[in-house]
């Protein structure tokens, strides 16, 4: 225990003296939490639309103003013909073309039926997809409005219609920040844990001080604990700043679930992530190597974590892969406890799996860490 005290003392001194590391540990996560959730928004806005109106009627005008008034679309051009409009798409000035045929108003009133033509620039798949849905929805709405105006509704509707009304549970205003902030926080804690831990140990290898440690009677577990404990504590502090300082104060996200449960999970999670850092450090000889290896894992973990793309919509094999990324579980648990108020029984499996990760990653790292060559 006495040896550990000296190791910790030394480690904290070095961490707090490192003028490059401290800002990395505290300022960078805060900045990212302030910027990322605002930018990483799934809603598609500012879709440029070019309208080709061959009808020039009151009704076509009404439709156009309804589309623009929705707030999702911006009128890029009011074109005289389809070819002109297509130029806009080719030159990336427009994402959508709406063509209103001649006789739109007349046919709508007389024949009760009319067709519209929409052309979509599908290079940005998400924009095209969501924009198309929005546009269809607006036109359907418009259609309903027209009907109410023109057709005398019988007492009982001849065509039964089903309308759906949905309620958003756990995030009533569908605020993306509620969804993103806990996820991004989970990500930041992971990166700090794995990177810092790996780089710190590899630095001792590079400088040669680890050689000195290895000729002393320090036990493997003492050395490893001396590295894990400081970064574990830093992880907890950064997480708390993110959760309360940024999540609560800035974004107004009040954790609904049990905080003790959340921190218990964080504790286990940090051990697992630090184990990953430790494992990387046993394979890397230089900080550059450690960075490259860590970056490779982080890239996969982040993209497959379900933070930016829902796991449910991934192909089957990818779904299986996401189960091997510890971040996936932490993001799930974060969202469950913070937004939904889940209980221990709900996250029991998550706990077991994370303990498994912690034991296997650290076990592997300890096995691979050698005092002698």
């Amino acid at each position: 225990m006495r040896t550990l005290k000296f190791l910790l003392h030394k480690e904290f001194k070095q961490i707090f003296r490192n003028k490059a590391l401290l800002p990395m540990l505290f300022v960078v996560p805060i900045m990212q939490l302030l910027i990322l959730p605002l930018a990483a928004d799934y809603e598609v806005k500012n879709i440029n639309i070019t309208v080709v109106d061959y009808d020039h009627s009151t009704y076509s005008q009404k439709l156009i103003s309804k589309i623009i008034a929705s707030g999702y679309f911006k009128l890029a051009n009011y074109a005289t013909g389809f070819n002109v409009a297509f130029d806009d798409i080719e030159n990336d000035r427009a994402d959508f073309i709406l063509e209103i045929p001649q006789g739109f108003e007349r046919n709508l009133i007389r024949e009760d039926e009319q067709q519209l033509y929409i052309a979509v620039n599908a290079i940005n798949g998400v924009k095209a997809n969501l924009g198309g849905t929005y546009l269809n929805r607006i036109i359907a709405d418009y259609n309903a409005d027209v009907r109410v105006e023109w057709i005398q509704m019988p007492r009982f509707n001849l065509f039964p219609t089903i309308e759906t009304v949905s309620t958003n549970w756990f995030n009533p205003t569908m605020n993306y920040r509620f969804y993103m902030v806990p996820g991004i926080l989970a990500l930041l804690v992971t990166m700090i844990g794995a990177y810092m831990c790996a780089l710190n140990i590899v630095k001792e290898k590079e400088v040669g001080t680890i050689e000195q440690i290895n000729v002393t009677p320090i036990k493997k577990y003492q050395f490893i604990l001396g590295k894990l404990i400081p970064f574990w504590l830093i992880g907890v502090v950064v997480f708390s700043i993110g959760l309360f300082g940024i999540g609560w104060l800035v974004y107004g996200i009040v954790p609904i679930g049990n905080l003790f449960l959340l921190y218990a999970y964080l504790s286990v999670y940090l051990i697992a992530v630090l184990g990953l850092g430790l494992l990387i450090s046993t394979y890397a000889e230089t900080q550059q190597q450690a960075m490259s290896i860590a970056f490779f894992f982080m890239m996969i973990f982040i993209l497959m974590s379900g933070l930016f793309t829902p796991i449910d919509s991934m192909p089957k094999w990818a779904c299986v892969m996401t189960r091997f990324s510890p971040i996936t579980y932490f993001i799930e648990v974060m969202r469950m406890i913070v937004l939904k108020g889940s209980e221990f029984s709900d996250v029991k499996i998550h706990f077991l799996i994370m303990i498994g990760f912690a034991i296997s990653l650290n076990g592997w790292a300890i096995y691979n860490y050698k005092k002698t060559s």
């Binding site: 000296f6 030394k10 070095q14 050689e211 000195q212 000729v215 002393t216 002698t372």
Partner: protein
């Protein structure tokens, strides 16, 4: 005289390459044992085996009476080591480094305090005690590293080219420290490229291509090779080397 290092046919192979080939020698308590050889002769490899940093491929050895295979942790308590690379923490102060190393060797707070005071005093570093080690000149760093390596009063101290890149005056002072340590009963095992330093040793061994080619006192070696200086002895022996750099 007590034997503190005893090796028999100690060998280290890296694949096909034999870095140290069947090394057999004894080192006695309190002596300054010079370990000489050209670059790449296998000195560092041999020393790393003796310190328990590297497991031998074959052969046997006991260090301070402990087996090199089974009792490495006990060996580590009884030796000090100063590597080629400077291995104190540059971002800790002189006193913090002493405290850290003392602490992990199990010295009590009182002992650490006493020893730090003493050490800073003898090295004439009172003014620098609270300075970061990284800011010290190389010669001072090396003297500090040596003093820290023998802080826990080990039986043997291993020095791997401790005076490389150090000016002659500081080298002299460094050797004074070595003599003082030897006088206190600490066996000094030192590698060097400076032949004047070889003359300071009680006995020296010459390593060529991973093997020990000669082992005796400097005077007897000079006689044996009818040379006037250790320089000549070194050339005579190292000339036959097939491995270089």
């Amino acid at each position: 005289m007590d034997t503190v290092i005893h090796t028999v046919n100690l060998t280290k192979r890296f694949g096909d390459f034999i870095a140290a080939n069947e090394i057999t020698f004894d080192v006695y308590q309190g002596e300054i044992f010079g370990f000489l050889g050209a670059n790449g002769a296998g000195k560092t490899t041999a020393m790393r085996m003796l310190c328990g940093l590297s497991t031998p491929s074959s052969g046997t050895a006991t260090i301070a009476g402990f087996d090199i295979y089974k009792e490495t942790e006990k060996i580590k308590k009884n030796i000090g080591y100063m590597s080629q690379k400077f291995s104190l923490y540059e971002d800790l102060t002189v006193l913090e480094n002493i405290r850290f190393i003392g602490g992990i060797y199990g010295l009590s707070d009182k002992q650490i305090k006493e020893k730090s005071g003493q050490l800073v005093e003898t090295l004439g570093m009172k003014g620098e005690a609270k300075k970061m080690v990284g800011a010290l000149p190389l010669g001072w760093k090396q003297k500090l590293a040596f003093s820290v390596a023998i802080l826990h009063e080990p039986k043997i101290v291993f020095l791997d080219e401790p005076t490389g890149g150090v000016d002659p005056v500081t080298r002299r002072q460094f050797w004074d420290l070595i003599y003082e340590a030897a006088g206190n009963g600490i066996t000094v095992f030192v590698t060097t490229h400076y032949m004047d330093e070889a003359e300071y040793c009680n006995r020296i061994s010459m390593m060529v291509d991973g093997e020990i080619k000669a082992l005796d006192t400097p005077a007897k070696l000079k006689q044996q090779y009818s040379a006037i200086s250790m320089d000549e002895v070194f050339y005579e022996l190292a000339r036959g080397a097939k491995r270089s750099e």
